[in-house]
């Protein structure tokens, strides 16, 4: 048998990078961890919360999460906060000043870049923050390193009195690999020490701290040259030497096993002498970095001839299928290692198949909302970040903007205040989810109210952070560990922000006539209105399934109204073109409901004029054919 790695079982765990970070933090004696969910970082805190001997929280946003971690660090506890790349934009206000202060207990900021845009509104390179904030950036290459470097990050943070950025990418976070973990070390909190000159960043105090921060950066630069985190790995093919950081190390090893390389674990500040030493041994130096040419520019500025983004893409993952052809072309080699027969090329040519974009779920409470929005004319709809962003797609086409967390509020107000003469009758609508509203929408709503905006806000409360997998938030009544927690009352909250009580409606989004009425009424009123929908995400335990529906073929007239709901359980069975008495042609579309998928949400029957959508049980009773 193939027992190739005969390690004893208990030492080998199969973990995602996110789980490995959580394990590393727990072992490092981390006592406080905070995050806001965001792909691909979400599971870090979910795994942290499975360890009982530390405090973990879902924060309302990343800035608060970082501030909680900063407070815990100043209290002398090791502290972790985790976020996706765009989260660090939100948290950066705190980060840019905390770098002046330093730390008490080790402070680690784990930030996950969505390289390849699996579920994000942009693709950023968080390594920029290291340079921007003069902070060390650790870049693991796989789950084992994510575990090790998380532990290392806490130690480094205390050794250099600095927050440490742990830079992850989707390929680290969401790849499971073998991890050999260790034991937890207990790190009791060492206590808060008052020191206003250091902790109160007035201009004068900050002025004293800046030189200390810069001096720390120089010490880190020297450390970068000697630490085991950075190293040269020799190879017998001296034509190209690679500078690698994070996951690109393994992509390069896979693609060019004989190439010499520098492996950077501490990517900022970079070890320029180590890189210079590699450059001296090879004909060409190529930097393989995801995604921006940060290292490349520094290396060039240091006077070392280097290639990088002249050969490789400035976006997406630099996996073997990208690296190999690019480097082979650079070396003037054919695309494949040996001349490939024509058939082999055909064999591996990509196939064009229809797109299969993500859709809203069967019975999603957002379906009825977008059905109504798609039926209202003369709208401008400012959208936001969440599952409901899918409302921009088929069949609803009912979202006109999506930018950043909470942006629907300010953008809607701007559309209202900046409207052209031609747009004077347009109804400005904002659509925002419950968690997004609490994250960064509340302030925007306050701004709309204060400045007398004519905006109708749809606050879609589905009692979950839906897109990231149904996490808890202050509106769900539960905390990260599922324990009872104070629950936000959204009606009271928006009224407290100044929305008039008569302009606030709470609506069941499955009751189409009521939802329609509220929406039609409020878009006509020149005032700030909020319509709160109140049914849970269908993927959470809070959703209750009901008996399914089916379509009576004999009654279905092919009007296709129900398809406008956009429920994936409704499928077209056949199309027909009929000639009407007046000679005009009409396209008819007949449908069926996948009763095994249908959860009986009762939405589509309300769109069916001929009442052809009936409970499945009625068909069974009648013995009718479906």
């Amino acid at each position: 048998m193939s027992a190739v790695n005969p390690l004893p079982q208990p030492e080998r765990h199969f973990m995602s990078g996110n789980e490995a970070v959580a394990r590393g933090a727990w072992e490092a004696g981390c006592r406080v961890a905070a995050a806001y969910p965001g792909t691909p970082s979400t599971e870090i805190l979910e795994f942290v919360a499975t360890y009982q001997d530390l405090y973990a929280e879902w924060s309302v946003n990343e800035k608060v999460a970082l501030e909680v971690a900063i407070g815990a660090s100043l209290a002398g506890s090791r502290a972790l906060c985790a976020m996706k790349h765009v989260g660090l934009n939100v948290a950066s206000d705190a980060l840019m000043t905390q770098t002046l202060i330093g730390v008490g207990g080790g402070l680690v900021v784990a930030v996950a870049d969505d390289v390849g845009l699996s579920s994000s509104q942009n693709e950023q390179d968080s390594r920029h923050w290291g340079r921007f904030a003069h902070l060390p950036v650790l870049e693991p290459a796989d789950a084992q390193e994510a575990y090790e470097m998380t532990r290392e990050a806490f130690a480094l943070s205390e050794q250099f009195d600095t927050p440490v950025i742990l830079r992850l990418t989707t390929r680290i976070c969401h790849v499971k690999a073998v991890v050999v973990p260790g034991e937890r070390e207990e790190r009791p909190a060492t206590g808060f020490r008052k020191n206003p000159a250091r902790l109160v960043m007035t201009p004068m105090n900050a002025g004293y701290r800046i030189p200390l921060m810069l001096e720390r950066e120089e010490r880190l630069r020297a450390f970068s040259e000697i630490t085991d985190l950075n190293r040269i790995e020799d190879g017998k093919d001296p034509r190209v030497g690679f500078v690698t950081s994070g996951p690109t190390y393994l992509h390069v090893l896979e693609s060019f096993p004989n190439a010499p390389l520098v492996k950077l674990g501490l990517g900022y500040p970079p070890p320029m002498e180590l890189i210079r030493a590699l450059a001296a041994r090879v004909e060409h130096l190529v930097v393989v970095e995801e995604v921006e040419p940060l290292l490349e520019l520094e290396i060039r500025a240091a006077g070392i001839p280097v290639h990088g983004k002249d050969l490789l893409p400035r976006m997406g993952e630099l996996a073997p299928h990208v690296l190999r052809p690019a480097i082979r072309a650079f070396l003037g080699e054919p695309a494949a290692p040996e001349p490939a027969p024509k058939r082999l090329l055909e064999f591996t040519t990509p196939v064009q198949v229809f797109p299969r974009p993500p859709t809203m779920c069967v019975a999603c409470p957002h379906l009825g909302i977008y059905y109504c929005l798609s039926k209202i004319k003369n709208t401008q709809i400012a959208g936001d970040i969440g599952c409901y962003t899918l409302g921009a797609g088929h069949p609803w086409n009912a979202m006109d903007t999506c930018i950043s967390m909470g942006a629907s509020m300010g953008v809607a107000l701007g559309l209202d205040k900046g409207r052209s003469e031609a747009d004077k009758d347009k109804r400005v609508i904002a659509v925002i989810g419950d968690s997004t509203f609490l994250h960064m929408g509340m302030q925007g709503l306050l701004d709309i109210v204060y400045n007398r905006g004519n905006v109708t806000i749809l606050l879609l409360d589905n009692s979950a952070v839906g897109m990231t997998g149904g996490q808890e938030h202050p509106g769900t009544g539960k905390d990260i560990r599922g324990l009872e927690a104070p629950k936000v009352d959204f009606r009271k909250l928006v009224e407290a922000l100044g929305v008039k009580p008569e302009r606030v409606h709470e609506v069941n989004p499955y009751e189409l006539p009521i939802l329609f009425k509220a929406l039609r009424q409020e878009v006509k009123v020149n005032d700030t209105s909020v319509i709160i929908t109140n049914q849970p995400c269908v993927l959470t335990d809070r959703y209750g399934h009901k008996p399914p529906y089916a379509v009576d073929e004999e009654k279905c007239t092919g009007c296709s109204n129900c398809l406008a709901v956009g429920c994936p359980a409704i499928a077209v069975t056949r199309r027909e073109t009929v000639v009407k008495p007046n000679g005009s042609e009409k396209e008819l579309t007949f449908v069926a409901i996948d009763s095994a998928a249908c959860t009986g949400c009762d939405l589509c029957p309300g769109t069916c004029g001929p009442e052809a959508i009936l409970p499945l049980a009625e068909f069974s009773r009648a013995g009718a054919r479906l």
């Binding site: 699996s118 390929r171 969401h174 993500p358 859709t359």
Partner: protein, 205 residues
């Protein structure tokens, strides 16, 4: 028969493809855990986020003495496990020459197809064969339904590849059944049937 078998020391690459909610991730996890139990180094991509919402889901499972990049390089997959015919066709270019594809014939059309915006390929399996790929296609959905539970598609598909792995099929079967033995012992027998049905189905086509 064992066309896709790889020698010891080599990395075995298995690409599992399908649609969010079909059990692609579970199948990849079972494969990975089984390879892990055999002492291999293993890497597996997990897809999260928007892919849960009916979108395309793929998982790369790689195991061997040492696995480097977690992504299967293009044209190096030994086995393609297609939970849906169009999804198998979409990714078949990732197979190495001589690799095999196991395809569930049960079609699942997305809204963009049912709304008439894009056509569904007429004969995805035929297109794959025209490219010279060894395809074993069968209706895993029908097999699962006959056994009384559509969720068994997962076990049927794993049964179909069981004879193409560098370890005996019984080891994969035992790993699957062990998952049910503790939590849902009532499902052990039917999963064993599904596994064997998948093994037989691929051999027959």
């Amino acid at each position: 028969m064992n066309a896709a078998k790889t020698g010891e020391g080599k990395v075995t690459n298995i690409l599992v493809s399908g649609i969010g909610g079909q059990g692609v991730m579970t199948a990849a996890e079972v494969l990975s855990q089984t390879a892990l139990s055999q002492g291999y180094d293993v890497k597996k991509t997990e897809v999260a986020g928007m892919a849960q919402r009916g979108g395309v889901v793929t998982s790369h499972v790689r195991f061997g003495r040492r696995v480097l990049s977690p992504a299967i390089p293009h044209g190096e997959a030994d086995i393609l496990v297609g939970f849906e015919p169009a999804e198998a066709l979409r990714w078949c270019g990732q197979l190495r020459p001589g690799g095999v594809a196991m395809v569930n014939r049960l079609r699942q059309e997305p809204p963009v197809v049912t709304l008439g915006l894009f056509p569904y390929p007429d004969d995805p399996v035929g297109e794959m064969r025209a490219r010279g790929i060894e395809v074993h296609a069968f209706d895993a959905g029908a097999i699962a339904r006959e056994l009384g539970n559509l969720k068994l598609v997962n076990t049927v598909m794993l049964g179909a590849i069981a004879d193409y792995l560098p370890f005996p099929a019984e080891i994969l079967k035992e790993a699957i059944l062990a998952r049910f033995r503790d939590s849902k012992p009532a499902l052990v027998a039917v999963n064993e049937q599904a596994f064997e049905a998948g093994r037989a189905a691929q051999a027959a086509v």
